[in-house]
Chain length 633, copies 2
């Protein structure tokens, strides 16, 4: 693993927010110390599990099917409380802490994390099993409801947290506990050949990480076991419930409707989907499984060519937090969960490791610079779970079915997956900048950073948004080819200093590195109007404004109410104003009339200036309308 | 009351469908004789109630709050089954039968209705109370859950059915039973001054009908009692549940958030709303209550100027079947319930009785010729509950949250309000053609009919859609002024035969009638492009095609897939082809590319012919895309 320190002020600032605001807030949240927020019960459950294991109480409690949340009002005092996956709150926190400590040592924070790890390990059963829901309520029932109880999901997050923490601190305690749990899972499923697989995926990608970290084949075997049995007939989920094996396709929600190599379309819960595909991509890379590689490519293309918003958001509908049909991308009713875009980044990065392609990097950037950043407020203190491309507060408040859309970022969420996910992604951003081959290193993201890699030290500085500049200093340990991704948004890439050689990868510049080298480049790019495929019925006749990897939007604060009455002149010149863009456009003249419907008249437009702000920065000035797409005329 | 026989072939045909297809089907449905349809339990409940009253069983069963449906699987065998309002199924059937018999005597049908009435009367308690839910499960609990149990709603439909049946047959049995129940309700509420009012309105308008039919003041008093107490603080609904009186506005869903005279905006459940407003309009007319009249006008204008689709549909959201904010009229996610448009017709007609205005007639026509007609298939055998203005089957099937939209009409519905509501409206259509004053008769709808009125016989013939012709023969019993509404869709009204006089009502032609008179008119009108108020964000840059009172739409069957890629030339000439309209337009050329997002290019359009079908006729050729609004370019 490379050591990467982000130096880019923009991204470093985001990491600082995570370190100084999000991680402490998150700690309070999982300790139920945030006034006004729904309690997490996370630490409370670990404490209770530890007590139970020490034999202080022995009473068992039911863990009914189709129950996702255990509220104190209908649970016993010494039973599990909260959502069934609440253990992950602390695992994600530890992961973010791990990445943060790697960037920025902090003794107090490390001590706090050590104490949390101490507690977690006390909640582990003798046999290695570790999940507070079952440890507290009934250890005899573990893994009897794979479809809906999230034990393997919790395991996956434990794994990711343990590895990140180990990297930062070299402390093995949590990693050892993780391996013991992984060994238990291996015995349970592979040895006993139970043919089950996770209801909520993530264990697959986590096991690949654990395998690559430890080199232990059994974790690779376990991952492959889960991947291979998914979607087999008769369905495991039918069998575990004692239900008649269903004849029809079922379990799309969990991507378990078909064997994974036969899956061509992304379906069901979007986060689960991209977590699974990420694990599949890792497995394909390590095993060279061609069927799996093809499935990954088809699924990636299905998502990014048919089911992805221009902001890199995925999962159009809040019902089942799911993918819908191809080209169904409603702007106002978009679900577009922050976590799903984070998962898409995982997937895109793994596709880059599998085979280097400009488009994978483009997708990664699209999700990162827009939906993921939009998920956190400019001050790091509030969050979006849902990321629509169009908001009219009057409509949101007037229609109960839009309740899932929030017009301003929220402090926290009952199901608090997104804020911790943002914090672990941003803290660990360094991992996404590069991939490498035998004698090749690929720089995919144009973000200032100091990197210590197997090939040597690399230092990237960018002034892209000032003068298009990018400079890279390389001190190699050995000879290698340095590849630099030229994103699709670049009109022209000029090499000012350095010598390119023929590239094996389209849209990647190649440099032979044998000695200390300084590369200097100038990328020419400007604001662009982007159109969606005409099969996206919502956006016919409309365009979105982009500048580099950033999507822009209109806000009421700059452009007044009724943003839908604005149109842009496609031949506009552009002005820059801080981070904003100013363009020439038109405003439809409203002719006041009492009639809701009247005979058509040629519309009158008045020239006006339009102010666009980066999409990720919207909603930082109170409530108001926002809109990404607008008419071109 | 006037006697009206519809002679217009188009409308007579619809009435015939109701008589020959819908009414028999409905009878089977309420007798649980429709294979594959969810049982109604309606007749079953009346039989059981009759048995209970005869003392065959005496066991009581609970009627829990927040329970709307009693399924056999979780109910005792001899307890109430089905939705709590299931009694109305037979009442609406009797109402439709009554209107149908008036148009078309049918001994067998009448005998069947008599037998149903016999049964209903057996289910009436000694004290006059009549509702099978309480009669069966617990007669001691009547009227203890006004908010959610629909006893007064059932009463309202009983009333409407009884009056229609009495008019057709002069048989008083059901009307007598109704009066006994009304007397019980009067004693319960007015005498005891309980200050309650219906949760689901309709009793208000039904009581006004009963008052005007019987001349008994107590029914007027009871109606006024319900209207006046609605929205009073503390809220009755809080009190009846023993809840703390709420300080905030509550009960918008039931239009009980404010005293009715303070209500300026239509809110909550759309059907309930327009039923209430209809009752209020009748009460205002009869009592001359100015505050009530103003409230009715404001509410009517709020609906029709801010919350009504071009098809006369109302209630944008399926959540709570409710109104949303002003100008929030999504085309694809429209709820637009058939029953709500029927209620809007009730309301508009009552506004016409309150004060004659062209706009009320326009709204009535808009709802009748479009949403209501669309509710029933061309063969009268299947129905829409939900009437969107845009359907893309791929999107509907791909997104669970669009499950409420049906792409083809359904045979029947579990909550079967719409088909019987269509059948009673169409059967009773004659009632909506005219209103009258002391010495004035107003013809609002231009539908061929023979009418026997207090002023004499009037015969209307129209050939509007062939040659714009309208001819009216009048044989007066006494001198009166005949007013003829000129709809807003008429460009020019020419009187070929007859002499107009100065009209007191804008857009109504006035004729002094003293002797046998023949009026002959020619209305000039053609297809029109209609635009929505620009505050309807959905429809910016788009138009709808109308011709006379009919809204038109594009269907995939005529225009191919991807209807959103079509645009109309606003200066098009028009061709008629049967009931269809052909216009000049354009189709966006799709340039196939793998990229979902690409730099903007000026779009290319190819000239094409567009075929429009009347909105009410859509969906009669299998599943396919449909769209009312399209771009103008």
């Amino acid at each position: 693993m490379n050591q990467v320190r982000i130096t880019d002020p923009f991204w470093k600032g985001k990491q600082e927010f995570v370190r100084t605001a999000v991680i402490p807030y998150q700690w309070d949240a999982l300790n139920d110390q945030v006034p006004g927020a729904a309690p997490s019960y996370c630490i409370r459950n670990f404490k209770l599990a530890a007590e139970k294991i020490q034999g202080k109480t022995k009473i068992k409690y039911p863990i009914p099917r189709d129950k996702w949340e255990f509220l104190p009002k209908d649970s016993e005092k010494d039973s599990f409380h909260g959502f069934i996956f609440q253990d992950t709150d602390v695992y994600k926190w530890i992961e973010a802490v791990g990445y943060s400590l790697a960037n920025h040592p902090d003794e107090k924070l490390e001590a706090l994390a050590d104490s949390a790890i101490e507690l977690i390990c006390k909640a582990q059963l003798e046999n290695g099993y570790l999940d507070t829901l079952y440890a507290i309520n009934d250890p005899d029932k573990v893994f009897t409801d794979l479809r809906d109880k999230h034990e393997l999901y919790c395991f996956g997050h434990l794994c990711e947290g343990a590895i990140a923490y180990y990297h930062a601190t070299k402390k093995r305690k949590l990693l050892d506990a993780t391996e013991r749990f992984a060994d238990f899972i291996y015995d349970w499923f592979v040895k006993e050949d139970r043919k089950g697989y996770p209801g909520h995926e993530i264990a697959e990608m986590a096991l690949m990480k654990l395998y690559e970290e430890t080199g232990k084949d059994k974790y690779l075997t376990l991952c492959k076991y889960f991947v291979d049995h998914r979607g087999e007939r008769p369905y495991y989920y039918d069998l575990e419930r004692g239900e008649e094996p269903s004849k029809d396709l079922k379990y799309q929600y969990q991507q378990a409707h078909l064997p994974v190599r036969e899956q061509k379309e992304a379906v069901g819960h979007a986060v689960r989907a991209v977590y699974l595909y990420s694990g599949m991509a890792d497995l394909a890379r390590v095993t060279g499984d061609e069927g799996l590689r093809l499935a990954c490519r088809e699924l990636f293309e299905d998502i990014t060519r048919k089911k992805m918003y221009v902001t890199g958001a995925i999962g159009s509908t809040h019902m089942g937090e799911a993918f819908t049909s191809a080209f169904d991308l409603p702007n106002d009713m978009a679900y577009a969960e922050t976590c799903a875009s984070i998962g898409l980044i995982f997937f895109a990065h793994r596709m880059l490791r599998l085979s280097v392609k400009q488009e994978y990097g483009d997708v990664l950037e699209r999700a990162l610079y827009n939906t993921v950043l939009s998920g956190m407020a400019a001050d790091g203190k509030s969050f979006f779970y849902v990321n629509p491309l169009e908001v009219d507060p009057d409509r949101v408040h007037g229609d109960e079915r839009m309740n899932f859309v929030k017009t301003v970022r929220q402090k926290w969420f009952g199901c608090a997956c997104c804020p911790p996910n943002i914090s672990r992604l941003l803290s660990g951003l360094g991992d996404y900048l590069t991939t490498s081959g035998e004698e090749e290193l690929f720089l995919h993201l144009l973000i200032g950073a100091d990197m210590d890699t197997d090939f040597g030290k690399i230092s990237v500085e960018e002034s892209l948004f000032e003068d298009g500049g990018l400079s890279i200093q390389i001190s190699p340990k050995k000879a290698f080819t340095f590849y630099l991704r030229v994103p699709a948004w670049v009109d022209q890439a000029q090499v000012l200093c350095g010598e390119t050689k023929d590239s094996n990868y389209p849209n990647y510049l190649a440099f032979e590195i044998k000695e200390d080298t300084v590369l200097s480049l100038k990328f020419t790019f400007g604001p662009r109007l982007i159109q969606a495929d005409p099969r996206v019925s919502e956006n016919i006749g409309k365009v979105a404004v982009t500048y580099g990897p950033f999507v822009y939007c209109l806000e009421e604060a700059d452009n007044g109410k009724h943003l839908w009455e604005l149109a842009i002149d496609p031949s506009t010149t552009w002005k820059f104003s801080g981070n904003n863009l100013i363009a020439n456009g038109y405003r439809l003249q409203e002719s006041p009339t009492e009639a809701l419907y009247s005979p058509y008249e040629k519309p009158h437009f008045q020239a006006t200036k339009l102010t666009f702000v980066p999409y990720h920065a919207w909603g930082n000035r109170g409530e108001g309308e926002m809109r990404v797409y607008l008419s071109a005329r």
